[in-house]
Symmetry: D2
Subunit: 377 residues, 4 copies
């Protein structure tokens, strides 16, 4: 693991998610750029002293020299966005598979280089768009794919949060500090951080691609350096229209990612805060409530849950599904076996490129007086 030392949020999440199914063990780390903090964090996590590194370079180099059955199998990168690319490239170059927290990189160009490198090396890369790991999101995707909703006509996706309603980056909140800092986050704040999740979710479930968009990004809180809010009109490649709303100044909201997809025959609705429920609204029939572990589910939904119906699974299990599917593919590769089809379904470099392009395109559109900006990759 690169990054994710004491006090970090997403590093701890990655560790729990990776741990959950007993398939993955944390064996080494370059957990902080501060040597003291790296050591302290390593100790806290029961790492061997000699595998508690002070930099990712040192780690990748040393690990690659260990015998194959002792060295780490893959590298997880949970640093701020600007520090994704270098360790990822170096890891791939040294033959390690890679897990990267989204967005995949700092620039679109880096994302393209990563794709090229992954194709050259044939290694696996997992991009942790967590929300694609929920069983009911998998279910939604499969239902759209099978045509149950008919041709998709409209997609409404929204991701309101309220935690940046104040200028918390000036109040010592480290999460706020790096996520609103162009040097570490990139050219967009809110859209890069959560807008990319929303865009990915829309494309993932619908199987469509955004073809053009019209963005209105805002810095609502005075003194902030990056957008903390935005609304985007969408057009998809089959002609469907849509709206994407992402905000970090929606005071009182927690993490209220929600999507609605409407087709000719019906619509579906999923909300991350009640993730085990998928509402199906039919044009000619009563609405139905699909539930994790319940009736009428596809293999994909069942494959990505662990408990019988009524035992709620949440964010950590969704995250765990990404890791587990990645691990299944990785161990199948090690065994020379074929992983189950359902395990192949995890986000990777293509999704990373779409995400970085989304950031580029919304920023470009927001600065433009033209209504529509073609979505260019």
């Amino acid at each position: 693991m690169v990054g994710g030392g004491k006090g970090a949020f997403i590093g701890a999440i990655h560790r729990i998610a990776a741990n959950m199914d007993g398939m993955i063990e944390l064996v080494c780390g370059a957990l902080s750029t501060s040597p003291e903090k790296a050591d302290e964090s390593g100790k806290m996590l029961f790492l061997a002293e000699d595998r508690t590194y002070h930099s990712f370079e040192e780690m990748i180099k040393n690990e690659s020299q260990l015998p194959a059955d002792q060295r780490m199998d893959f590298l997880t990168i949970v640093t701020p966005n600007h520090a994704h690319f270098a360790p990822a490239m170096m890891a791939l170059d040294h033959g390690f598979h890679v897990v990267i927290d989204k967005p995949i990189s700092f620039t679109l160009d880096e994302a393209k280089q990563l794709k090229k490198k992954v194709e050259e090396t044939g290694l696996l890369l997992l991009l942790t768009h967590t929300y694609a790991g929920y069983p009911m999101v998998k279910q939604a995707k499969q239902m759209v794919k099978s045509g149950e909703l008919g041709k998709i006509r409209k997609i409404l996706v929204e991701y309101p949060q309220g935690w940046l309603s104040r200028l918390s980056e000036k109040d010592g909140n480290p999460q706020a500090a790096w996520r609103t800092d162009p040097e570490r986050s990139g050219k967009s704040g809110c859209m890069g951080d959560i807008g990319t999740h929303a865009a990915h979710l829309a494309e993932y479930i619908s199987g469509l691609k955004i073809s053009k968009l019209c963005a209105d990004l805002n810095i609502v809180v005075d003194g902030r350096l990056l957008d903390d809010d935005g609304n985007v009109l969408l057009r998809f490649d089959n002609g469907a229209n849509g709206v994407l709303v992402a905000s970090q100044i929606a005071a009182g909201e927690e993490n209220a990612l929600r999507i609605r997809v409407y087709g000719e025959k019906g619509g579906l609705e999923w909300a991350q805060q009640e993730p085990n429920t998928l509402i199906l609204k039919w044009l000619d029939e009563p609405a139905q409530i699909l539930r994790t572990g319940g009736h009428n589910l596809t293999n994909y939904a069942a494959f990505n849950s662990r408990t019988p119906g009524g035992h709620p699974e949440g964010y950590l299990e969704a995250f765990g599904n990404l890791y587990r599917n990645f691990a299944l593919c990785l161990s199948a590769r090690i065994d020379g076996s074929t992983p189950p089809e359902e395990a192949l379904d995890f986000p990777s470099v293509d999704e990373g490129i779409r995400g970085m392009a989304f950031i580029d395109n919304v920023v470009k559109s927001s600065l433009s007086n033209e209504k529509w900006t073609n979505f260019e990759v």
Copy 2:
């Protein structure tokens, strides 16, 4: 009553709403342009034969010649949009107060003439933006007004319906027929019919005015003549941003008007299909559930409900509130007394002009390649 004969939807709603509080009685009608249907409908509604008219002209003329204590007090117009203006003007000219279903007229210019006429005559005009009649909508408005949410930063308003997911206007559905017909509905379909409700709700609750917008109107169902769907980016006069979505092809949705308003200190959420609940989401406190008939309500909420908490009031009561408040003002005028302040709060010509301007501006914006269109009245 003009229009609203047998088979009409909104006419029956108006009659129940007007009836509800025992303050208003239907005494005469020009219920259909077909004499037979007018007579039949009059009989069905227990109208006196000599007050069952065959045209609004006949009705207004005859009624105005009856003694003051016998003639109708006001005229309700529930015809399609193209037939609002003529009876309204004639009624005002003959000294009758007027109730008009929204949108107020066929064109913005007519709306302006109506305003002028109302100002000249000093008569009352009620425009039935029903949703402004709900107690929890009144509550929301008063809370924003009193500053409890702080400065408003973002407004999300949506009105998805699914009933025009097919080309029902070709299938003998009379509602679909006139509402999708430019000759009777005007230059917009979905935005005129329900987008105006959403826009009114946003301005009503927030006390703000839309200052510019960016509209994407769509004809989703092949063969339709007017927009059946649309998404609009909004900017309000205090700098707040927003999104308005209205759709009649959101398959599986009923009448799912919903609004969220976010301020510096918190947000509120109201959904028409569960109208007795207002959710308050606070930046620094747990969310609260305000309820019709419950705790911490303003006078306005209490004034507009009839039952103790837990006895749900609905659409007809909201509609009834508009009529009741109008009737209270009207009878105060007759008595020479002062109506209660809360009764003064009903939509009228100004809201009618805003609605017609909204239609003009979204249509103009939708045809434009410029991102922003200034909201002109």
Copy 3:
């Protein structure tokens, strides 16, 4: 109308409900036992002075001497429970149909006499068990009847309120005063007031009869004279078991009547505070959401609603349905026509007797050390 003068709660509700569909007009009243209040209330309700009576005896006598086309068609009794019987009997004796708020009488014996009188006179009697008027309750009843849930196995019905959490009868709350007074309410408080609604709802939807019960009635608030809370184990005549909970000390609850009925194939759930939704939970299929005005409804549900799906109807409309169905039967009788089958479905003397027997039986059981008390009528 007998009772329901200024300040009364349920009288005003009855008037709105009766008014709603334009079929019923209030023509006379004995609105209070205080002559001043009776006169004042009559004036407020636009009653003719000579039909504003000071006692029900005077009213029934005078009205019965008016010509048939002028006198009242039926009498509504909205007095406290102890004053139901006398005006009802006198009205029936003078040929007037009767509407009585529940419970039908003060004692079971009175209820039986009323039934006998109704049978002798052939007149109509409506008992206003309001909740049976909701469209989704009608739907639930018809679905059970048609066997869609299979044999019924379990019924959970609950009616928690919180408004008597304090000793409000000593604080000048007139509602609390009479409802907790054995002289006016009868031998039970909470169970008579709202337990009877819950019991009726269970029997109405399931089509079953309670055959034995085990009751635990409580006076929770010190100084109160009647039960303000109770829990009852139920056994139905087909062997199904159940639980009925009614409470007026469930602090924070409004009027949270809710019922769940489970059969061999699935269950249904309905909650009064969101009355337009009926949840169907299936053993082998995803749950479904039935909605007023929506898909897959029986005639009974459609017959008892006024608006398209998504326009919420509430308590007043449910109440209005009772009056409208009663009025349809009454006017069919006057016309000599046959009312629609759906209109025949309103509570009357049999339900009144069941309600009074329920009170007798829960009180008897509560005082007994035996577990089960047979439900005797």
Copy 4:
């Protein structure tokens, strides 16, 4: 781990829960009474061959002879109820701490012996009443304890499931087979399996003890050997009344554990299927929505969650909390340090005895004609 081999439900759950926080590692197992299945399961779980045992006796004996830093720290027992006692006693006798799935034993007497043994040895015992691990349940307990709701007056707890609506024990469902078998489950089916959870939750949150009860247990599905449904009237030691409903024939229900607790000043409501929400209903204020990771929470709630608000935690995390708190106490003991106060809060032998006594008392009451049975331990 004893039990929990291939195909078992709760064994897998225990492993994920124990794994989750990286504090516990599975090192050995007697996973099945069938040697083949035990070996196969051991391999599947990456156990060392020499620590994959064929019986708990063998495992405890062998492990106790390993050096202290190599042998297992504690034993988890996830066998059917009849096979809890022997391994638990033997483990304690050999100095191992113990985790047991609920109910603690087959008989109340065994539970008492376990308590005695725990007291003698001073070892730790965790009884996995999972639902006590949810952060919002902790919150509820602390709020009651601090008096925010005032004196508790009424508790409604229910646990409806539908999975035994058919005679699945005859259809090859192994879960159904042992849970409905008196030889393996004990003297009660539904009440032992889930009624004990409900009873524990009521006592845990309220801090009260059931003092008497009146039970109606039912075998609803023909041919079943143990109760699959039941309703119980409750009286608590402070005089509060209550109802407990548990059913496994509530067709269409998943795992719908729900509790409501009403005090003098307000009530609270928690439902296991949406576990991150705790509704507070106040007598004099609007209701509030408390949320995991949100505002106004006690230390106990925060201590038992891992993610920021809006990232739902579920059943596995609640289960993980039990294990983590147990592990914190265990490692504090090893270190000689003091564990955080919040970690001490996990169910143990006293709760086990209450649970077994609950089973005894509801069965006794159900067979009695007396209304009330004193809760005897």
